[in-house]
Amino acid sequence: MSGGPGLESLVDQTISVITNDGRNIVGVLKGFDQATNIILDESHERVYSTKEGVQQLVLGLYIIRGDNISVVGELDEDLDAHLDLSKLRAHPLKPVIH
């Protein structure tokens, strides 16, 4: 059925997107197209820093352009529930350099 790595299996699921500028945006995948442009609903950004825990910024409804997307991950709700984001420290991801 879902032969190629399309994103159809992730529609209506919570996903974690890493963008080329190093941001991490979590939201519900509502749609996508051939260019990997995606619709993210109820999205928020997770901001990583070494000084404090992960901050979450509410973003809302987003259309992210495919050429700005690095990774689309299926967020495992159980794993995520057990993550203590307030304790996570890390540098923000580096931007993609082509």
């Binding site: 529609v11 509502k30 809302g60 352009r65």
Partner: protein
């Protein structure tokens, strides 16, 4: 649901566009096309650092310079109405089909659904079966996209 359908449905609504160079543009969508080129009215442009602003009556943005668009929450409910009212229409842009196909080679296997898989997916996406609890669920969208970072 296709990103470009959502964008089309956002016509007349306020939105925020961030470009790859970090500039953001706040304005009302006049029109857009299949390349994501967009035409905005009543625009406020903000520099990358958020320290300088320019107001302009309108602007036109080339699609491939866009990083993302932020649209008001309620626009997603509008798309559903529109796709319901013409659900017989095939989604544009998907279903590349055809092609030469290869006879042999190291990967001589049948392409497992690649090529037509997306066609089905697109149709499924248009159908519905979406679970967003109650149409009146979200409030506060009407003031639109006026956030900016930091």
């Amino acid at each position: 649901m296709l990103p470009l359908s959502l964008l089309k449905s956002a016509q007349g609504h306020p939105m925020l566009v961030e470009l790859k160079n970090g500039e953001t543009y706040n304005g009302h969508l006049v029109n857009c096309d299949t390349w994501m080129n967009i035409h905005l009215r009543e625009v406020i442009c903000t520099s990358k650092d958020g320290d300088r602003f320019w107001r302009m009556p309108e602007c036109y943005i080339r699609g491939n310079t866009i990083k993302y668009l932020r649209v008001p929450d309620e626009v997603i409910d509008k798309v559903q109405e529109e796709t319901k009212s013409r659900s017989d229409r095939k989604p544009p842009g998907v279903g590349r089909g055809r092609g030469r196909g290869r006879e042999d080679g190291p990967g001589g296997r049948q392409p497992k659904g690649i090529g037509r898989g997306l066609d089905d997916g697109g149709a499924k996406g248009m159908g519905g079966g979406r679970g967003r609890g109650g149409s009146g669920g979200k409030a506060g969208g009407s003031r639109g996209a006026g956030r900016g970072r930091g």
